[in-house]
């Protein structure tokens, strides 16, 4: 590669530029094989685990109300597929709204706190305090304040998902490279430019980590919310399904519902990982694909 002044190539701009995505897109077959290679080990472990479970229950004749066989769970899931699908969608909606609110409020709060050390020192302890109060203690209050049903479910999901967004965004905003801050000052950047072009992009890896933690918590929050404050019937969500199945000792159904909630968490997690990879793929170590 020509690197000295004297050898400067005469071509300009885009003509012979190179970038990571172009190179990756050039070999779709290779990429497919790579994703298969990544997915194969956990899938194999999963299949082995299910087989072992099935054999264990069959050989030891474990009663289905103690531990249902995987086949029982699949049959139960098939029987009540429409109820589970409705519940899944309901929980998914609540969790997503809760997560969205947590992202907006968490980042805004962090942005405000990052403006001055004094403000951060004054407010942050209370954010931590809020975090340490057990949900059981204030869940009844929330039901009284916002009413039972989806309002309460979304609120609980939001509160549980909020803290990681605040703490990670604050950590990200305060970890900007010192020399870059000086450089922005040297080139007379105003507050808005400093925020949008420097602080927020620099904080993005942290924010994405927070988002990944919060997404899992939002699903857990929604299900716990439905447990505590959910209304019955079809719109009760997975939490209500789990409660009613447990009350009636329908263990296969309970397992099916639990499986649905973990699938839900997984789907949200994968979605966020994809968004994160999209934003960070060029520059952050966590998302960069190394060629060894």
């Amino acid at each position: 590669m020509a690197t000295s002044l004297a050898q400067a190539p005469a071509s300009t701009g885009r003509a012979n530029t190179r970038s990571a995505p172009d190179r990756a897109a050039a070999q779709p077959a290779g990429r497919l094989r790579q994703s298969l290679a990544t997915a194969a080990p956990p899938v194999a472990v999963f299949i082995l685990f299910v087989i072992a479970w099935q054999v264990f229950c069959t050989v030891l004749k474990i009663p289905h109300y103690l531990l249902p066989k995987p086949t029982d769970v699949v049959i139960a899931a098939g029987d009540k597929a429409d109820i589970l699908a409705t519940a899944l969608l309901s929980t998914f909606t609540s969790a997503l709204i809760g997560l969205g609110l947590a992202v907006i409020c968490g980042m805004s709060a962090a942005l405000v706190m990052s403006q001055s050390k004094l403000v951060e020192r004054s407010i942050y302890p209370f954010a931590i305090l809020l975090q340490t109060i057990p949900l059981i203690a204030y869940a009844p209050l929330i039901v009284i304040w916002v009413g039972a049903g989806m309002n309460a479910v979304v609120t609980i999901s939001f509160i549980i998902a909020l803290f990681p967004m605040i703490s990670n965004t604050i950590a990200g905003l305060s970890s900007t490279d010192h020399n870059l801050v000086s450089m922005f000052e040297l080139y007379n950047a105003n507050w808005w430019q400093r925020m949008v072009k420097l602080k927020l992009p620099a904080a993005l890896p942290y924010i994405m980590t927070g988002l990944r933690i919060s997404s899992g918590l939002a699903v857990i929050g929604a299900i716990i919310g439905e447990f505590i404050a959910g209304i019955g019937g079809l719109r009760g969500g997975l939490g209500y399904v789990i409660v009613s199945a447990a009350n009636r000792l329908e263990m296969s159904y309970l397992f099916a519902a639990a499986l649905c909630s973990s699938v839900l968490g997984l789907v949200i997690f994968i979605g966020i990982s994809m968004v994160s990879a999209r934003f960070l793929r060029h520059w952050h170590e966590s998302a960069v694909q190394r060629e060894n």
Partner: protein
């Protein structure tokens, strides 16, 4: 070569500047930290347009602090500093004539090379097309034309420093402040970049204040060397380097070069 001013000239708000006047004027500057440590004491010197002045001294002698003061990034306890006839901060804000190159290349990892070079122009509100053209031109000058779409992590240390120089070039400053820019590079890359820097200076008409602890580098680059002592930081000698210009790599083995290096080293030892 005159460097085009990307911002509308605001000369009417600031005193007129003649060529004979110093670009930077530092008078009796002292800086004492709140802990009582005296970082700088009685610093006085001028930098005239087109000069290449190096600040040489041991670590902790306050040379970087002094550079940051000239950039308007740090305050002083006594004395006066004028850049183009104004206090550093005002000068920077009104004229936008000051560029700075740090020891690490200080690139934004989330932007590609062109995006990084465009930044100073972007902050100034230059239109997209114009800043792209300027960035590509600067990129060509430093010999990295084919790397416009690369990201900083894909570049070597020397290439990153070239991008950093291209950014300063695109911003079009009159005054370039450099804080040990080549300190982290290997010797061969450093020597090559020294040569390229001088070419760029001639091309862009920069006036440079250059901080380094490398005496050989300072002698090769400078028209004047200010030797500093530590605790408190003082200027103990001002050495005019009257070596032939343009400086060629062969100069590094010439007797006159070695003589000046010896002179600077003896000043440092006395300090």
């Amino acid at each position: 070569m005159a460097v085009a001013h990307p911002v509308p000239s605001q000369a009417d708000t600031a005193p007129a500047l003649s060529l004979a006047e110093p670009l930077i004027s530092v008078r009796d500057v002292g800086k004492t930290y709140s802990t009582g440590v005296v970082a700088l004491e009685g610093i006085t010197f001028d930098v005239r347009p087109g000069q290449f002045v190096s600040l040489v001294g041991p670590s902790g002698c306050g040379k970087s602090t002094l550079l940051r003061i000239i950039a308007g990034l740090g305050g002083i306890s006594e004395g006066t500093v004028l850049v183009e006839g104004l206090p550093p901060r005002e000068s920077r804000q009104q004229r936008g004539d000051t560029g700075f190159v740090f020891q690490d290349a200080t690139l934004m990892p989330w932007r590609d090379v062109v995006g990084n070079i465009e930044l100073p122009l972007e902050l100034r509100g230059v239109s997209r097309g114009e800043r792209r053209a300027k960035a590509l031109e600067a990129l060509q000058t430093v010999g990295l034309t084919s790397f416009g779409r690369a990201y900083p992590r894909e570049l070597s240390g020397g290439m990153k420093m070239r991008v950093s120089l291209a950014r300063a070039l695109a911003a079009g400053p009159r005054l370039l402040l450099m804080d040990e820019p080549f300190g982290a590079l290997d010797e061969i890359t450093r020597q090559r970049l020294n040569g390229e820097l001088l070419t760029l200076c001639a091309l862009a008409g920069w006036t440079v204040v250059f901080v380094t602890h490398n005496v050989f580098e300072a002698v090769f680059l400078s028209s004047r060397i200010l030797v500093m002592s530590r605790q408190p930081g003082r200027i103990v000698a001002s050495i005019d380097v009257d070596l032939p210009s343009p400086r060629r790599p062969e100069l590094r083995t010439a007797a006159e070069y070695t003589r000046v290096v010896g002179q600077v080293i003896s000043c440092l030892e006395d300090a």
